[in-house]
C-alpha cells in the first residue's frame, strides 16, 4: 500500500510540466483531476469502466490535438461530457500530453 501512495506522490512531484505554460501548481491539480474525476468513469488507474481505457497504449492512435479536442468538447451521443466549461484549452492540452506520456 505505501508504495502505491508514494508512487502517486512521486508522480505528482514529477509531472511533465516542462512543455506547458501552466501556472505553478496547476499541473498537480490537473493530475488530481485526471485520476479522481476522469477516473470516476475511466477508473483511477485509467484502465476503463463505463468510460474507455485511456492508458497510453489504448490512445496510441490519437494525436495530442485530437485528444485535447475530445476533452474540451466531449463525444456527443456518449457519456463523455465537454470539459470546456471547467478547464482552459491549455489545461486540455496538458492533460492530452499527460495521458499519452504517462508511464504507469
Amino acid at each position: 500500500m505505501p508504495e502505491r501512495l508514494v508512487a502517486l506522490l512521486l508522480a505528482a512531484a514529477t509531472v511533465p510540466a516542462a512543455a506547458s505554460g501552466l501556472p505553478p501548481g496547476r499541473a498537480a491539480e490537473l493530475e488530481t483531476l485526471v485520476r479522481q474525476d476522469c477516473g470516476a468513469c475511466h477508473g483511477i488507474t485509467l484502465a476503463g469502466g463505463l468510460g474507455s481505457d485511456i492508458r497510453p497504449a489504448a490512445l496510441a492512435a490519437r494525436t495530442p490535438e485530437g485528444l485535447a479536442a475530445v476533452i474540451l468538447d466531449g463525444i456527443p451521443g456518449t457519456a463523455m461530457p465537454p470539459w470546456r466549461p471547467l478547464i482552459s484549452p491549455e489545461d486540455a492540452d496538458w492533460i492530452a500530453r499527460y495521458l499519452l506520456e504517462d508511464e504507469e
Binding site: M1, P2, R4, L5, L8, T32, L33, Q36, D37, G39, A40, C41, G43, I44, T45, A47, G48, G49, L50, G74, A79, P81, P82, W83, P85, L86
Partner: protein, 382 residues
C-alpha cells in the same frame, strides 16, 4: 498528513481487541480508495478502530455484510472480491474474479455473493463462506445495477444491451435466468425498494427511467418519468449519479436527475412526477434519512464541496453544508440521528447531527469514499 499517518499507525499498532467480547452492530467500514485499504469504524466511539490493507484498487468500491454482521465483502474496481473479518480486522478470503468490476450483492439467505463486472461483462456468483465459484453469468455487456431481492434472486442491468436480467438461485447453484429486453438505452445504475418489489434503472441514454414490478408475471419494464428533461438541453454530467442510495421519503421517491441540477420527486404508487427541487449541481446521491423526513444530496465535480438537505414535506432546501473538497458519500446511522460524510480531498470523515446540523466528530481517513454500516446486513438491496 505525516503526523496523522503516524498517529493512525500507532493506533493500529495497539493489539486488536479480538480477545474482548464485543458486538458489531455499531461498527462499519470506510473505503480508502487510493491506498486500497478499509478503515474499521466504531459509531459509538466516533472513531476509526483499525485498518485492513491489501485490498487492491478500491476506487468506486462498495461493501455488503454477512447476516451476522461480522464479515464485510468488499468489491474492488480491479475485480478483487475480498472478505474481511471486521472483528479481527483480517482478510479471510480474497479472489481476483474479473478484470474490471462495479459492485455486488449478497443473497437474502446470506449464502451467495454476486459481483457485477464490466470486463468480462456479466455477473459471477460465489459461496459466501468460502468464496468458491458457484455460477458464471456472462452477459456480453458491461453489467451493473446489481441488487439482491427476496427468493435467493439477483437483478442486474446491461449498460450496452439495455436489458435487465433476473437470476434466480432458489433451485440451487444453476440459476434460472429471466431477461427483460428493451428497457432503454444505457442503464447506469439501479435501485430496489426495501420490500424488494420495485426495481428502477436510471437510463443515461433516455429521457426517463425504467421500472420493473418484480411481483408481476411476466416481468416487464415500463418507462417512468418519461421526458422529464425534454424542455431543456442536458447539462454536462461529470459523474454518474447513484441510485443505490435510493430515497423513499414518505410517499415519494427522491431521485437525482441526470443532466439537470434537480432532484425529482416521484409518487411511490403511480410513479408519476410530483415535483422538483432545484439544487446546487448535478446530484450524485439523494439519500433519505432512515425516517424519510429529510433528503441529503451531494454533487458531481465541480460542485462536490457541498451538501444540501431537503425537507421532505415542503421539498425545500432547509440547510446547506460545505464539508470540504470532494464529498463522495453519506451514510446514516441506522436510526438517522447522525450522518457520516466522506470528504475525500480533506482526508477526513465528518459526523453530523441530523437534527441540529452540528458537526459532532472528525475522523482522519486516507481519501475516503464509501462508508458502510453493518446495519445494511439486514436491508434488502443494500
Amino acid at each position: 498528513m505525516m503526523l496523522r499517518t503516524l498517529i493512525v499507525a500507532l493506533m493500529l499498532a495497539l493489539p486488536a481487541a479480538a480477545a474482548e467480547l464485543r458486538g458489531t452492530g455499531d461498527l462499519g467500514v470506510a473505503v480508502e480508495r487510493t491506498t486500497g485499504s478499509l478503515l474499521v469504524l466504531d459509531r459509538s466511539e466516533h472513531a476509526a478502530i483499525g485498518r485492513v490493507e491489501g485490498l487492491g484498487d478500491l476506487s468506486h468500491a462498495s461493501v455488503v455484510f454477512s447476516p451476522d454482521e461480522r464479515h464485510a465483502f468488499v468489491f474492488g474496481r480491479d475485480g478483487g472480491l475480498t472478505k474481511v473479518d471486521i472483528l479481527t480486522q483480517d482478510i479471510v478470503g480474497r479472489v481476483m474474479q474479473a478484470g474490471n468490476s462495479i459492485g455486488g450483492a449478497i443473497s437474502d439467505d446470506g449464502t451467495l455473493v454476486a459481483v457485477s463486472n464490466y470486463e468480462p461483462g456479466g455477473v459471477r456468483v460465489f459461496d459466501a463462506a468460502t468464496l468458491a465459484p458457484v455460477a458464471d453469468i456472462p452477459t456480453g455487456s458491461r453489467t451493473l445495477g446489481l441488487v439482491d431481492v427476496p427468493g435467493r434472486r439477483f437483478v442486474f442491468s446491461l449498460w450496452d444491451a439495455g436489458e435487465t436480467w433476473v437470476a434466480d438461485f432458489s433451485g440451487g447453484p444453476e440459476p434460472a435466468i429471466t431477461k427483460i429486453t428493451g428497457i432503454g438505452a444505457n442503464p447506469y445504475d439501479a435501485l430496489v425498494t426495501a420490500n424488494g418489489r420495485t426495481y428502477i434503472a436510471g437510463l443515461f441514454g433516455e429521457d426517463g427511467l425504467a421500472e420493473i414490478d418484480l411481483w408481476q408475471e411476466p416481468l416487464r419494464a415500463r418507462r417512468i418519468l418519461d421526458g422529464y428533461a425534454k424542455d431543456d438541453p442536458a447539462l454536462p454530467v461529470y459523474k454518474m449519479p447513484h441510485l443505490e442510495g435510493w430515497a423513499l421519503a414518505g410517499e415519494r421517491f427522491a431521485l437525482p436527475a441526470i443532466g439537470r441540477h434537480e432532484v425529482l420527486w416521484m409518487d411511490a404508487r403511480s410513479f408519476e412526477e410530483v415535483g422538483r427541487t432545484a439544487v446546487h449541481g448535478q446530484p450524485v446521491f439523494a439519500v433519505a434519512r432512515p425516517d424519510g423526513r429529510q433528503v441529503w444530496v451531494n454533487f458531481a465535480h465541480p460542485d462536490n464541496d457541498t451538501v444540501q438537505v431537503i425537507d421532505t414535506l415542503s421539498g425545500e432546501i432547509v440547510h446547506e453544508l460545505k464539508p470540504g473538497p470532494a464529498v463522495l458519500h453519506m451514510e446514516f446511522a441506522p436510526r438517522g440521528n447522525e450522518v457520516w460524510i466522506s470528504v475525500r480531498d480533506a482526508n477526513r470523515i465528518d459526523v453530523y447531527d441530523t437534527a441540529s446540523f452540528e458537526k459532532i466528530a472528525e475522523i482522519p481517513a486516507e481519501s475516503p469514499s464509501g462508508i458502510f454500516f453493518t446495519a445494511r446486513a439486514h436491508r434488502t438491496g443494500l
